[in-house]
């Protein structure tokens, strides 16, 4: 691996590719828009005033830096590696999503756009977008699969409180990928005033690179904080993957540190099997083209896209960011999957040992920590990305644990 590449941090190339992945597979109507966005982003990237505004808001509005926390009781319980959590669930709005939204909205303002659209699965990206739009007085429209509107009701109400219009998407199968289709359809229609704020490291170039850059604050802080706490790099870093933005954010600043093991955790749903009841694009999919980029996709033999399945609405996406597809193929990062059941166990263990209610998404990352930590020596440092808090998930978890929320005695339903 060392001989093949000098740095893993130089991508994408001028065509927006990471190896064969990525690109700009969009209709002609959108092409001029993404070229304009790329130009604007390239300008902003080297503009100190852009980053000054970001830094100010990250600090005073989002609450960054988020802590790096040694999960002592959890580590003890697992009886092996020393486990740290990067506490991005403490951000304003409860997840990492706002790191990226701030960047895109500041960019949108620089471009003179007045209307922001977004897609959302779990609702966290939608809430973050609605939040920042409220702060800046921008019109906000969020596309959300009808099925997700149901299972993430608290977030739907939050978005509406924040003044956003939430559009339940019934096209296709009414899931996150369909919400993204409808957002793209909106954008093609409203090209002049509208900015599409994508919530993960997917979509046409420059989105995967831009979202990664905004989320990289997670990894940058982690490096510094780990240095402070341990005087060295972590041995293993782990994050959950829907589209892959919290993971890219943690991974990117460590890509050239060859000693650091990098592990992405996909949603295994009911198990990565022939029935495709999962969302593990890398473990159970193959390369294809969707939503503007080439990447690994869940698809049938005819190239039709399949629905993913996961207990976690935020991981329920049949694709994965193109940079992950590349890191997977060149072997710099390793990708595994965790089932719903394993994620639920991790969710409970985290509540009980650390007093932290995690979102179901990072519960997948934590479940993998539970698998590997016991076998590792005590001086092995693992850092997982606690990228979201679990408030939004308590109804789902209660249902799966057979807990009747209306019963004040706390009895189980059966």
């Amino acid at each position: 691996m060392d001989d093949l590449v000098n740095s893993f941090m130089t991508g994408p190339d001028e065509k927006g590719r990471f190896g064969i992945f990525g690109g700009r597979f969009v209709s002609e109507t959108l092409m001029p828009l993404i070229l304009e966005l790329e130009e604007e982003y390239e300008r902003a990237k080297t503009d100190d005033s852009f980053w000054a505004e970001m830094d100010f808001l990250w600090k005073h509005y989002v609450g960054r830096p988020s802590p790096l926390y040694h999960a002592e009781r959890l580590s003890e319980r697992l009886g092996g590696a020393k486990v740290y959590m990067k506490r991005d669930e403490l951000n304003h709005t409860g997840a990492h999503k706002i790191n990226n939204v701030l960047g895109q909205i500041i960019l949108a303002r620089r471009m003179g756009k007045t209307r922001i659209i977004a897609e959302t699965g779990a609702g966290q990206h939608g809430v973050a977008t609605a939040t920042v739009c409220a702060k800046f007085g921008l019109k906000c429209v969020v596309y959300m699969g009808a099925h997700d509107v149901e299972r993430q009701a608290p977030n739907v109400f939050r978005m509406r409180l924040l003044g956003a219009e939430v559009v339940p998407v019934t096209s296709g199968r009414g899931t996150l990928k369909d919400a993204m289709n409808d957002a793209l359809r909106d954008w093609v229609t409203n090209v002049r005033d509208t900015f599409y704020c994508i919530g993960t490291v997917a979509g046409p170039h420059p989105y995967p690179a831009m979202v990664r850059d905004f989320q990289s604050i997670i990894g940058k802080e982690t490096r510094e904080q780990m240095h402070e706490a341990e005087g060295r790099l972590p041995d293993t870093i782990i994050a959950a993957i829907g589209g892959g933005s919290n993971a890219m954010g943690l991974f990117f600043p460590f890509l050239d540190d060859k000693s650091v093991n990098i592990i992405g955790v996909e949603a295994g749903g009911k198990g990565v099997n022939a029935k495709m009841e999962h969302c593990a694009s890398l473990t159970g999919g193959r390369p294809g083209v969707l939503h503007g980029n080439r990447t690994y996709l869940l698809q049938d033999d005819d190239g039709q896209i399949l629905e993913g399945f996961s207990i976690s609405a935020g991981l329920d996406y049949p694709g994965i960011g193109p940079e992950h597809a590349w890191l997977h193929e060149i072997g710099r990062a390793k990708y595994v999957s965790i089932t719903d059941k394993e994620a639920l166990e991790a969710f409970q263990l985290c509540c009980e040992t650390e007093g932290i209610i995690p979102a179901l998404e990072p519960s997948h990352a934590l479940a993998h920590v539970m698998k590997i930590a016991p076998e590792l020596p005590k001086d092995h440092i693992i850092c997982m990305n606690m990228c979201g808090r679990g408030d939004k998930d308590i109804f789902t978890v209660a249902k799966h644990l057979g807990f009747d929320m209306s019963d004040t005695e706390g009895r189980t339903a059966d």
């Binding site: 597979f25 002609e28 109507t29 229609t189 939503h291 190239g303 896209i305």
Partner: protein, 263 residues
């Protein structure tokens, strides 16, 4: 020279505008859509656009989205779509067929294999919505090498600076998208379209065919009169969705074709 080039040469010689119709392959089932397809030339259609169903048609409105879903629910695939073209070609070796769809089913089939199969089945050109000039190496250039036309979409956002890039490697005709939006949306306005067509004519000798937002014989005439022809899709697909018989769908198509040809 493809069947598309031959057809436009003929229309040009006759001083006639082109009428292009779109249907989704396999909607609502293969038998019905093949019957409609076989009747299109008789109804006055000059070029057939055949939709290749895809689960995620991001440039299409609800009418064509649902048509694709009906086709997929009925088991339609790329191979069966090509078979439909072969069955059509058994009785018609002149009407040009343009396959219109999205890249993933083709990519999944394998580009080289697809080009061999498509050419052999009797397809003349391709319109692949999610392949802009920036991705020409993927399919556009191999398709032209294989003797298929690659028809590009030009849109209101394609400014003069970009237009030459869009027109390079385009062949057969240029499909001008009359509106910013998805299929089946707002009505096209001849007053908006006319100057845009003129703008493109300054850069190319290829025929300019206008689509999106043409639903009635009157609009077909108005739009065709300011271009080299027009395309109707959603309005025809809506007739099929309403459960009209192939004969009724074809008489609706004939009305549109007559409109375009009267321009």
């Amino acid at each position: 020279m493809t069947r598309i080039d031959a057809k436009f040469a003929q229309l040009r010689a006759e001083g006639k505008k082109a009428f292009v119709s779109y249907i989704m392959a396999g909607d609502p089932d293969i038998t019905t859509s093949l019957e409609v397809m076989k009747g299109l030339p008789g109804a006055g259609v000059d070029v057939i656009e055949l939709g290749l169903p895809f689960t995620d048609p991001m440039a299409d409105g609800p009418t064509i989205q649902l048509a694709g879903q009906r086709a997929l629910d009925g088991g339609m695939t790329l191979n069966k779509t090509l078979q439909m073209v072969r069955d059509f070609r058994a009785d018609d070796d002149t009407t040009p067929i343009v396959l219109m769809g999205y890249y993933n089913p083709i990519y999944s089939h394998g580009v080289d294999q697809f080009l061999t199969d498509a050419k052999e089945a009797g397809i003349d050109g391709l319109i692949i919505v999610d392949l802009p000039p920036e991705e020409d190496d993927e399919l556009c250039i191999p398709a032209q090498k294989a003797g298929l036309n690659f028809i590009r979409l030009a849109t209101p956002t394609t400014d003069d600076k970009r237009l030459p890039k869009v027109l390079t490697n385009t062949s057969g005709f240029v499909y001008y998208v009359s509106i910013t939006g998805i299929t089946g949306a707002a009505a096209a306005q001849a007053t908006d379209v006319g100057p845009e067509v003129a703008r493109m004519k300054a850069h190319t000798d290829l025929p300019i065919i206008v689509g999106f937002g043409v639903r009635t014989p009157d609009t077909a005439r108005e739009i065709a009169s300011v271009a080299d022809g027009c395309v109707v899709g959603s309005a025809i697909v809506a007739e099929i969705a309403a459960g009209k018989s192939p004969a009724d769908v074809l008489s609706f198509v004939k009305g549109l074709a007559d409109g375009a040809h009267s321009a």
